[in-house]
Symmetry: C2
Subunit: 409 residues, 2 copies
């Protein structure tokens, strides 16, 4: 008998009919003897409805009050799911984040979980209940309701699984797992049965939107296996992807998958004096404007001057460009430039650690297709390149084939 935590997202509980289907699925797990704790999101559309109400009043109001409003979305779902379970003769009990309690810090709208009290949940499991917990929310030490930020339900599920010492954290979504790349772009993309948490972390941060990156980080830290499943599968136990500790992943392929992202823009300030502190001088004003920077590349020049390039979210491009051009003048740089029609492509795999030459293979593949690389950035298990957006599909398809990912494994 296992203890599993299941998380169902907004589309999985998007209508009364979908909630009934989720209840059926939970009962099947119960019937085979597992204890089940369920984390749910707000019904799809509900959070936006609440955000629209807030917009109609004042979006600049206190985050404390916004959290009071937003957190009702999940509260409705927990009640409805318990009613659905009860109507199918399955004892169930709901808890809001505050009731559990999921203790967080006071950062309303993006709170971090500090502690979870698992006593009530364990007691309810003992008496045969399915326990249904509102995702995405908690309570600070003054008793104010907090939210973890969008997508935080995944984090609630993983944190709850860790606190309860669950055997597995199952994330139900609208896809049946992780693929070698986005099947909408590459029809030959293969389903991945098992991958490591580190690989998932890189894939998630590179734009594979199956799992929230904070949840994967949390799972990685506490070594909690995550299984990604589809709540739209007809069978209860369909295909899934298990994301687990590296040592559990038997077959260490060199490249596990290809992630891509066209939400970024590239900015360059060129001919900057190559002195200590120059990176801080450039990125300080960007950070102060609350603009997040992703890739950063600095080329050491020969004439005491250097070029400094980085990427930001495409929405922040204009603002970042203005800041950079102003900086260019005050720093006496040669000039600033940018491009928001770029895309990032990354190959990810723990096997890279022990296999030299993966980056070289990547560059060769892109060269063969005549694709110019604008930026390169590497980590232990990932190589990312920035290319012109128009080459994105070609790059992903070529790399997918070059690394043998279109073969079933």
């Amino acid at each position: 008998m296992a203890l599993i935590v299941q998380k169902y997202g907004g589309t999985s509980v998007g209508s009364p009919e979908r909630i009934q289907a989720v209840a059926d699925r939970i009962i099947t797990w119960r019937e085979q003897g597992d204890d089940v704790v369920v984390v749910v999101s707000a019904m799809s559309g509900e959070t936006n409805r609440l955000l629209n109400l807030i917009s109609a009043i004042d979006t600049k109001g206190s985050k404390r009050e916004q959290d009071v409003i937003i957190s009702t979305g999940e509260q409705v779902t927990i009640g409805l799911l318990c009613l659905a379970l009860e109507s199918k003769q399955c004892a169930a009990k709901s808890y809001t984040g505050a009731q559990v309690k999921v203790l967080t810090d006071q950062s309303h709208g993006k709170a971090r979980i500090v502690d979870i009290d698992s006593a009530k949940i364990h007691a309810d499991l003992q008496t045969g209940h399915v326990v249904v917990v509102a995702g995405f929310q908690g309570v600070d030490d003054s008793g104010s309701i907090t939210t973890l930020g969008r997508g935080g339900s995944d984090t609630t599920a993983v944190a709850l699984a860790v606190a309860l010492k669950a055997d597995e954290c199952q994330i139900y979504t609208d896809v049946d797992g992780v693929y070698t790349t986005d099947p909408r772009m590459v029809p030959e993309a293969q389903h991945i049965t098992k991958l490591s948490l580190e690989e998932m972390l890189e894939l998630a941060s590179q734009g594979s939107k199956v799992l929230q990156i904070r949840a994967v980080e949390f799972a990685h830290k506490y070594n909690m296996p995550i299984r990604v499943l589809s709540s739209f599968d007809h069978g209860v136990k369909g295909r899934s992807t298990l994301v687990t500790a590296e040592e559990e992943v038997m077959e260490k392929v060199v490249v596990r998958g290809i992630a891509f992202n066209r939400d970024e823009a590239q900015l360059t300030i060129s001919g900057v004096p190559d002195q200590p502190g120059v990176a801080f001088k450039i990125l300080g004003p960007i950070a102060e404007a609350n603009i997040e920077v992703d890739m950063i590349v600095q080329n050491a020049g020969t004439d005491q001057l250097t070029d400094f390039t980085f990427t930001v979210h495409r929405n922040d491009y204009t603002q970042a460009h203005d800041i950079l051009c102003a900086l260019s003048d005050t720093m006496g740089a040669r000039g600033c430039s940018g491009d928001n029609r770029i895309a990032k492509v990354s190959i990810v795999g723990v096997g890279m650690r022990s296999h030299a030459g993966v980056a070289k293979d990547m560059f060769q593949c892109l060269a063969n297709e005549g694709i110019n690389i604008r930026m390169i950035s590497t980590s232990e298990i990932k190589v990312s390149v920035v290319v012109d957006e128009k080459y994105l599909e070609l790059a992903v398809r070529s790399l997918h084939e070059a690394f043998g990912l279109d073969q079933a494994i």
Copy 2:
């Protein structure tokens, strides 16, 4: 400087624009130096939206989970109102029933308030906040969310006013107070400036739907003055009705107002053996079917037989009639009959206590109009009669004139 508790109902907070108007009104009270605690209902339509979601799953599910869902309506309003206040530079803080905390018993869906912790609210008032509390909800001693039943926001407001030792509890609604009768039926109906809590209790229970009867009972018990005002008045302090202790009401008119009700149906079981326990035998099965009985009249007969008549809500008429006919057979009664096209008309006034002959004046007035009286029931400050529904308007208008209520006082 006074401490006032204000309650705004669903239509008063029915849209973002209405919520802004409520915020303006609160700020005007604040600016003249009063401390203000606000109780709000769910935005109009919201509770029905939530009930529809519940209906789509299962209405027979546990009340605990239904309360989890229903209570979100008020939670959204408290957050929105605080955002509106903040946007107008007025410090505000919201509390759900559980956060206050409003301790109730465990009767989900119709919980009764046991205790209110006023410490947090007093502390926030001290620091210059307007405190906004979700009406209609509380928490039981196990931490489960409870609701007080529909209209319970009035009760929350009065209970909070009592707990905080407020100077006045203001109930904002869509009318500017209590009238001598419903102005939609009698255009000559006069606005009442002041009446006693007992009179309000009788008027409320007789169908004047301005205030919830439980709230008036609560106010009566703790002697908390209630002021009924319209949130649709343009001026902040328009016309109102103060409902207060009898000794505060200067002018004791004999008849304060006329209430009426066409939601009832009459049932009679005739020729029942006139023995001890017969009322219990008849009303026991009715109560077991969860049917509430309003008026009860028993006529002592001369031949050891009695007729027993009572009224129920019109929705319960068919079920009650079936129960009664079955009873009639088993009890050996002469028969059962009923009528659901009846109406109840009541005259109410504390002055009746010291004025004999009020009932006689009422019967004479109805006789003059040729209206037959089917049932009579009296209390210390009220006389109610049941008449054919078709005579309702005539009866109300005639009585209104006969007791001089169409003269401004």
